[in-house]
């Protein structure tokens, strides 16, 4: 199925590519422009959702992305709805704090979304992350789909990676990549050693599962 769709695309592109260059330009540009992570490549110029319950490794994944972007000399922004960001553990994970703009929204999700939209529209940030991981689900469910569309549109054709960290998937069709995390096991050896986590990545209806360990 995948092979035949690729073949079809190739045929259409070869037939019409010279006449309608712009149609195929976005796809070409997006390819190769990704941010490396523990669960694979995170696309730039698109919305990625990271979902999971407490201690599922979602924040570790977010910090690793912040570390990857900031260590590559990019500026990042973290819109922290519930003021949950811990600079000490972020610095230990390799995040360059001086290159991360931290906006504490004091429990106001609307402020977090508005600020994310403004920063994404302004451009120049390598990564913009919205952390609504501790926001009650009933509040997050009330975010209209149009808000996610607006955010997706703000980063389209840019090099900004837009991440939303929540307890569940909310943006649905607006997000290019959905990463659902679940904790398999907690490792103790007298101390907390780390987590074994499973990541279920969904992209273009293709699901990939992979396990990884986050250890101290």
């Amino acid at each position: 199925m995948e092979g035949s769709s690729a073949l079809l695309r190739h045929q259409i592109q070869s037939a019409l590519g010279s006449r309608f260059e712009a149609v195929f330009l976005t796809e070409k540009k997006a390819a190769g422009e990704t941010l490396p992570s523990m669960v694979g490549e995170i696309p730039r110029g698109a919305l990625t959702e990271i979902a999971g319950s407490a201690s599922s490794g979602r924040t570790s994944l977010l910090y690793s992305l912040l570390a990857a972007a900031s260590s590559g000399q990019e500026f990042c922004a973290l819109l922290d709805a519930e003021n949950a960001f811990d600079p000490e553990s972020a610095a230990a994970a390799g995040v360059r704090l001086s290159q991360v703009l931290w906006v504490r929204c004091g429990g106001n999700v609307e402020h977090a979304l508005k600020a994310a939209d403004m920063l994404a529209q302004g451009g120049g940030f390598g990564l913009v992350a919205i952390d609504i991981g501790d926001t009650p689900e009933k509040v997050v469910r009330h975010i209209p789909l149009a808000a996610w569309f607006r955010l997706r549109h703000a980063v389209e054709n840019t090099k900004t990676t837009l991440i939303v960290l929540a307890q569940q998937i909310h943006a649905h069709s607006c997000s290019t990549l959905k990463i659902e995390l679940s904790r398999k096991r907690t490792a103790w050896n007298g101390l907390l050693k780390g987590f074994e986590t499973t990541a279920r990545c969904t992209r273009n209806h293709h699901v990939q599962e992979r396990s990884f360990t986050i250890s101290r």
């Binding site: 201690s55 924040t59 931290w102 302004g122 120049g124």
Partner: protein, 414 residues
Amino acid sequence: MFACLYAPGNSCLLVECAGYFSPLIEETSLDTVVFDIQGLRGIYGPPEQIAMEIQRRVGVAANLAIASNPDAAVHAAQGIRGVTILPPGHEAAVLAVLPSYLLGGSPEFARTLDLWGIRTFGEFAALPPLGVAARLGEEGAHMQQLARGAGHRQLRLRVDPLVFREHKELEDSVDLLEPLLFLLSSMLNELCERLRFYGRFTHEIRLRLELERASPHSVTIRLPVPMLDSKVLLKLLQLELNDKPPKAPIEKIELELISVEPRITQHGLFLPSSPEPEKLEITLARIRGMVGSANIGTAELLNTHRPDAFRLRPLALAKGSATSFHPKPAFRRFRPPCPAQVWCTDQGKPARIFSAKGGGSILAYAGPWRTSGDWWTGTVWNHQEWDVEVQSMGVSRIYQDCLQSQWYIDGNYD
């Protein structure tokens, strides 16, 4: 032609007086000012008339000398009381009576003249030039030129400190933001034009509004990078005034832009792009208006063992060098820490927990770790920390505040 005013202890007055006659002013010393009066002949007439005008303008007892070169004017003003006019070609004759110490020069030069028994300009000027040059070198030859009133040099012009300030007194008080912004816009345009003329940018905006029957309202905006876009500056002022509006109608506006050197940056071709400073500053001002200025910035860890110790600093658009990173278990804080009830075993180990975040039996734990500090201040802390795993909460860090004997959940490992 140059005029020199000499009045000990009145330097400001002298500069002000000189500024009335000429833009080309040299502050030779604290009590001496020389200025160019070349163009005044057409206005006032001969040097005697110019001298009278200057005397009338200065208003205090001051020596005034007019000569064809600045040094002759300075020496005459410093050595001869009242008004002295040195006709071109006759400087040496007028200066001849002046004491030689007025020439200045190095201590060796002054000592040599003293040893030779030279006491006046005239005596020094009468010495053979070749002999003076052979014995006193270049300095001696130059000083002899000065003693003859034949110095040639340009004025070392006084540079006024650049002040970019505008003020407007309003006939009718303004109590709405829109007309105020209209006035601010024209003032900013004017100031930015002046800054552009001098090749300067600004890094600070100071606005002072005098209010009707209320204390003045001041706004200071410090910019992270020097800027010169009046629209950006106006937008920043608008956002600041929206956030903190004046409490009464405005009677007078004072606006000042602090000038700095322009920002010259060369971006690397292969470096990732960064936000445009002007655009970013407006965005940050908007976000500040929403979340408050204390809630936006970059975190900086403090050098202390106190839990959750950091401060927020403004975002600086300076890139550091690339570093390596390692995936590690992250921590999510509950701010403020969530109070909890914890039941312990006979050995003092946590067994069950109940809180607003969830609760249940503790499946695994590690600890305790005791931390305390700041006992010498009012913010003392004394904690006993545990890492615990609970089915419904995940893995959390809990602690007992030993001072209050109260348990809290600090946050989650995530």
